[in-house]
Symmetry: C2
Subunit: 520 residues, 2 copies
């Protein structure tokens, strides 16, 4: 019964060859055309409409072009949150260049490594990172640098001329938008490539879950260099809503933005929510706050219950850099009934639990695997890592969880060894590698231990080499030169040996017991 | 500065070859999994959740499979609006078959032509079209038929067994969903192929414009066989909201659905709005009605003003079968400031005015051309019609309009010759062809004239052959056998000649003057 079915596909193929459905108008330009007078960015002393943001992005794209940036080039941004960060993000899209947002907390060696790995040609940084940029430049003289301007200027780069160039008026969905580094179990960070389409589908999936109102305002107090922050202004331009940008997280400022500035959605991690509630006291939050999106790991149930009692609409999510932020989110109607769950996949995504390469049954803990159009196309220059993370299009997250009998996801633990510290991921192997670089260190094991402020903090057990005298404080100072401060072990204890299996593999679970039994 | 830029594209290409970002979970199955207890379809005596609709679609897909339907097959539906129509739509997706919705007002010859043209293998019809189906079957004995079941049954086909088959769990975006016939200036209807992606992007574009609320209810009183009706249950399943289905348009029933059933969005054409307001009197509509979407041609300004005075949130749109419904829509904030405009393109679309193959300046009337991922991939089995409609990916609509200096679209006139009659398009050439088939007709010209109830109705000027005596009523009866009743000329006048240019082409503008000067 399929005699004529050949030709329909042929015609579709013909038209598809012209990339018919693979291209959308460039988001910011389109938004400025459609609803140019709506607010786009609200920051300290800054209130830009989409029309104004559009003008700034054009001026900045021309500045970047005068520095030689064009299609396919990779440009890193090293900055705390500021409105100019958003301008750069859009300017790069207009040049079809790729954004590489750098974690502003990293040390010079860590940053230099990522800049080299991503083959970055230009480093844009804020004033706060001027010394860092100079230090990086010392070892990479071919790397160009530019400084972010004060908000008064039209172009976001300080003192850079504009070049007349043609700017992209459309976005091809499967072309790269950003490369965002995420550490791996190997301790070697990998750059997850996120396409325009990944961010588009992520924005759509989120809207289909949370709904969408023209007067929404989404607060970005998470760093824009993490996917959870960066996705906020990208969603906003697609939705036509305002992003409220905070330099960093400040519980009082967040509460003020909700109480006085009409912020309706805010993305935080659980330690931030804790501080917000502490600072807000018994006063209820206004009705205009319709969603507090919580990512970055499991939320303690007492905190969820406290928020529920104060009518704070908490929505727990599960997300990854590799999925362009949220991949599963608890639907608002289930927020109370399924306390502690990360909900169900967003509409365009699939999620399942794998145990021994098989789909696990309800209630069985296994690896969380996800598939869908917001999932990364792979790791930059890492074909092997990409191949090992994907099987049949499913991304293997390394995180553990289970589905209840209604299909709700409960994240049991991030990757076995991952330490979640105040919204940052710390990979023990990376910290161990830094410690092992010290000439007096023989063996080392790093684990996370509970911390009232940060959720977890890293600590280390070190076995010194024979005949070496090891000073703990010197060792921590050694770490500080090589590692962002949140990765530096809060405490280091000396041991005479570490628990390993027959193959010599470190037994982290044993290590945790070990830590509990030793004393500093 | 692009030394390393090759490999990023290679990796993306590699992953794309697995159709990584080209596939989404099958909409209804996913919706049933995510929010299965939400209402999906509300009809006469019917209230189905998404879980229930999902079960019915599965049962019906198995019925269709037992009739031999599989991937790539084309199945026509000939029915007035009913919940089972929606079930069939989803069931076909599960089999990767293509829906061909037929205009329930067409005559047997018109339907038979479309069934042959679309290479349809199965005709599903409601009870009301049993005789029509029998008559069609007379000339096409190889065509199978099936009758829609009463709502009490799980499978939507009456008395058909279920076959155990594997059903699709995902949808490939660039595969066909439907073929919908639209007449052309040639008088020959063409089947516009709409893909899963066309409907997806249309739904997204609409949500980005109108916003999205979990408690929205969208009323389908437009026929589901037109794209404006069909797109409502498709958007609803993606959004997770309920479609309220009316058998046909009834102003009192529409008002009741808005006043009592929480309908928040309704799609109508302007004559319907007129009757709704007439029936509602001075009573205001409830606040829960947040959008009355008006398509099907320009809306008279007095009607828009009357609606505005009654606080009816009227949103004028411009859409085509070829764009999977709305392509431009007036943003809510502009509804009053830009009375009479069809607004701006939806976010994923581009729209411009062409005059002499050039982009026209503001205020200049020209042809409306559109581009974007919700635009049809072409006409089924009509490579030439497809090629002539598209240039550089832009669909040339044949409709006339202009953009004001703020970029708002004003539709001046649908295709020069198109007659808009109560939400149906009537193409004069098609009516002329029917009249010319009469042995006594020598020449004919059909135009639209204003009508208080329908907006426009078709009328004909006929030049009889020498020595033939022509009876007007006999000629109308001749038309009724060949044309749907809304296409039959309301009035026919005999003339001794028709205005033509030197090349013999009918001058329709002159024809209108002519009509005004003649009397019946």
């Amino acid at each position: 019964m399929t005699e004529g079915s050949g030709n329909i596909n042929e015609v579709i193929k013909l038209v598809s060859m012209e990339e018919h459905s693979d291209r959308v108008p460039e988001w910011l330009r389109q938004r400025a055309r459609l609803t140019g007078s709506r607010l786009a960015v609200i920051g300290e002393g800054v209130t830009w409409t989409y029309r104004e943001l559009d003008e700034r992005a054009t001026a900045t794209a021309r500045q970047l072009a005068s520095l030689g940036i064009g299609e396919g080039d990779r440009v890193a941004v090293l900055s705390w949150n500021c409105p100019e960060f958003v301008v750069i993000v859009h300017a790069l899209v207009r040049l079809r260049a790729t954004l590489v947002p750098l974690n502003a907390r990293l040390t010079v060696p860590e940053l230099a490594w990522q800049l080299t790995d991503a083959e970055v040609v230009l480093l844009v940084h804020d004033e706060a990172h001027r010394d860092t940029a100079v230090a990086i430049g010392g070892s990479r003289p071919e790397l160009r640098t530019a400084v972010l301007a004060e908000s008064g200027q039209l172009g976001a780069l300080n003192g850079v001329d504009q070049a007349e160039v043609a700017l992209a008026d459309s976005m091809v969905l499967d072309r790269p938008h950003s490369i965002i580094y995420t550490s791996g179990t190997t301790g070697q960070p990998k750059g997850a490539m996120l396409t325009n389409g990944n961010f588009w589908w992520s924005a759509m999936g989120s809207a289909l879950n949370l709904g969408l109102r023209a007067d929404d305002r989404w607060l970005a107090c998470l760093p824009l260099f993490h996917v959870g922050g960066l996705s906020i202004p990208l969603r906003s331009v697609i939705y036509g809503i305002a992003t409220v940008i905070h330099h960093g997280f400040d519980a009082l400022a967040v509460n003020r933005a909700i109480d006085e500035q009409g912020v309706s959605i805010v993305s935080v991690v659980s330690t931030m929510l804790q501080r917000m509630l502490d600072a807000h006291g018994e006063r209820p939050y206004p009705n205009s706050l319709r969603c507090v999106l919580i990512g970055g790991g499991p939320v303690p149930e007492p905190l969820l219950e406290r928020a529920a009692a104060l009518s704070v609409p908490v929505v727990q999510t599960y997300g990854l850099t590799e999925t362009a932020s949220q991949v599963a989110t608890l639907a608002p109607e289930d927020a109370l009934r399924k306390l502690g769950s990360a909900g169900k996949p967003l509409f365009p995504n699939e999620l399942r639990i794998e145990s021994a390469s098989q789909a696990a049954s309800a209630g069985t803990v296994g690896e969380i695997v996800v598939r869908g159009p917001s999932v990364t196309v792979g790791y930059f220059n890492r074909p092997e890592a990409t191949a090992s993370a994907f099987r049949d299009g499913w991304l293997h997250t390394g995180d553990l969880g289970y589905l209840d009998d209604e299909g709700y996801l409960y994240v049991v633990d991030r990757r076995d060894d991952l330490i979640l510290s105040g919204g940052e991921n710390v990979y023990p192997t990376e910290v161990e590698a830094a410690l092992l670089a010290h000439p007096a260190v023989d063996e080392v094991g790093v684990i996370g231990v509970p911390d009232p402020d940060w959720g977890q903090v890293p600590v280390a057990l070190v076995k010194p080499k024979r005949e070496h005298d090891l000073d703990v404080e010197a060792l921590r100072a050694f770490c500080r030169e090589r590692l962002a401060s949140y990765k530096v072990p809060r405490e280091i204890r000396m041991v005479v040996g570490l628990p390993r299996n027959a193959a010599g593999k470190l037994l982290r679970r044993e290590l945790r017991k070990y830590w509990g039994e030793t004393t500093s």
